[in-house]
Amino acid sequence: MSASARVRWATLLAALVAAVTLGLAFGPVPIAPLDVWRALAGVGDAAVVGIVRDLRLPRVALGLVVGAGLAASGTALQATLRNPLAEPYLLGVSGGAAVGAVLAVTLGFAAPGLVPLSAFAGATGAVMLVLLVARAAGGRADPRLLLMAGVVVGAFCTAAIMVALATAPEGAVRGALWWMMGSLGDAQWSGVRWVAAYVLVGVALLALWGRDLDVLALGEEAAASLGLDVERATRRIYLTASLLAAATVAGAGLIGFVGLVVPAIARALGGRGARETVLASALAGGTLVVVADLAARTALRPAELPLGAVTALVGVPFFLWRLKDGATR
């Protein structure tokens, strides 16, 4: 590993450790950073250990895996679609996942392992619909058409969720705000474990296919000239990116723009190829969501802001800046 690579990974890890420490320290009962680490090790006041390990750690852990999943999904979609503005939320993939998850919950299949699967089905359906709409409108090679198709499919998904929630029995499901704007507030170890399992598998697969992502980002003809089976590689990367988005939606609702902002940061840090970008995005994504959740919890205390609103407040200006910068050419 080169010196610059060591600095890069050390920076990413340090930011992650700092974010986790802050995420565990802040709350109704402030805890000193040193006591946070003692509590994690099981040392110190039993009440503090309980707050850190049982109340706050599941929430921070959920933030880490949700952020990692969204950012890795965005990295993969951007390389495959050759579009730096692609990400699961803007492409309607997360919306499709939310439809699947809401349907599973309202129909009574609420086991923690099953909701992500139903969300996966919804996400896959949304990807296919977006590509179909973009192709019908003139080709998915046009990044603007693709984004428009994604926004339209996403809006349709939002409407479908509203209908499903309006007809669901009172109190049977989480509120519309939870799904639409995302939250880590309901984090339970049982659910976190499932999301973490799906995210780990998804990120590992994308890292394994890092070379495929590099080659796909050159364009279809160049990828084919290097011997890549373009259709097969594209298909399995869409499926994996959808699985990641679905797991995050099942765990924390719709959280936008993480998949847009984080891969850009990871690429700006340098690095040589998609495998490194996927892994760096996973680390930085987890960090960003934990920090965003911290802001959501503390900015207007005692009120708690929706997490998706916080990420959108950061993401929308970033999106506009990239758009102005000619990211879509």
Binding site: Q78, A79, R82, N83, P84, L208, G210, R211, D214, V215, A217, L218, G219, E220, E221, A222, A224, S225, L226, G227, L228, D229, R267, R272, G273, R275
Partner: protein, 261 residues
């Protein structure tokens, strides 16, 4: 080595775009495919990449039909430089050329000593060593084409295909690309180039295939193909073919609109 054996190519159920094309791009030769826009030149390249269905005949690389073969194995035998290409995200030139080793890589894609040697050789051959540390979005048009050729060379294939490699290039860069293709052919590569530069093709190519509406209108040495009556009919424009006084190669001179000369 590439053989097109009475190849018929088409998109969907429509009329075929290429009808019964037959020619060989032999090892040690620079073979050029020329023809007007829409004559089927790039469709032949798409067939080599497996991006279009072969309705009849066979496309062979090193004697065996490409249909059903592993694309990586083909990419080790034949490198293609597509007409247009722009990386979605800028890369270091060195890393871009290293992607030429993709068909040789295992699942994890780490580079072996053989990979590094092939990359260094390719960079040297295409004369892109001075900008290995630059990024792909910081290159001029001529540098970018040479970098793309370097990536193809890094594949280590004995057959090279270049689809209009000199579009947008000035005279010096155009000549440099043709000189490089010529040198690679002399070293034993089978080089197939698709080009609109008839006069350069006439000077450099060993064998020219002139396509017209999906069929071969003429094929042979530059002297066989560079004939005024043939080219005038195919390009549907008045022209004369003379001989370059300096180098002796046939030279095509398009005339002003009919009657005005």
């Amino acid at each position: 080595m590439i053989h097109f054996d009475d190849v018929v190519l088409g998109y969907g159920a429509g009329d075929p775009v290429v009808r019964g094309v037959r020619f060989t791009a032999a090892a040690g030769h620079l073979t050029a495919v020329v023809g007007p826009n829409g004559s089927g030149k790039s469709t032949l390249v798409r067939a080599l990449l497996g991006r279009i269905a072969v309705h009849g005949g066979a496309v062979r690389v090193d004697g065996r039909p490409i249909a059903g073969r592993d694309r990586r194995e083909i990419a080790r035998a034949m490198a293609v430089v597509p007409q247009r290409e722009e990386p979605a995200f800028p890369l270091a030139v060195r890393d871009f050329i290293a992607l030429g080793r993709f068909p040789h890589g295992g699942a994890f894609g780490g580079h072996t000593a053989a990979d590094h040697a092939a990359i260094a050789r390719a960079a040297e051959r295409a004369a892109v060593e001075p900008f290995l540390a630059r990024r792909t979005d910081e290159l001029s048009g001529g540098e970018w084409q040479r970098v793309r050729i370097a990536r193809a060379l890094a594949q280590g294939a004995r057959t090279l295909v270049l689809d209009e490699p000199t579009t947008y290039l000035d005279i010096a860069h155009e000549m440099a690309v043709f000189e490089l293709m010529d040198a690679l052919a002399r070293e034993g590569h089978a080089v197939l180039v698709v080009s609109h530069q008839l006069n350069l093709v006439a000077r450099f190519a060993d064998h020219i295939v002139l396509l017209h509406r999906g069929s071969v209108a003429a094929a042979g040495t530059p002297a066989d193909v560079m004939r005024g009556d043939v080219l005038e009919r195919v390009y549907e424009w008045p022209l004369v073919v003379s001989r370059d006084p300096a180098v002796g190669a046939p030279v095509l001179v398009p005339l002003r609109g009919r009657g005005t000369r």
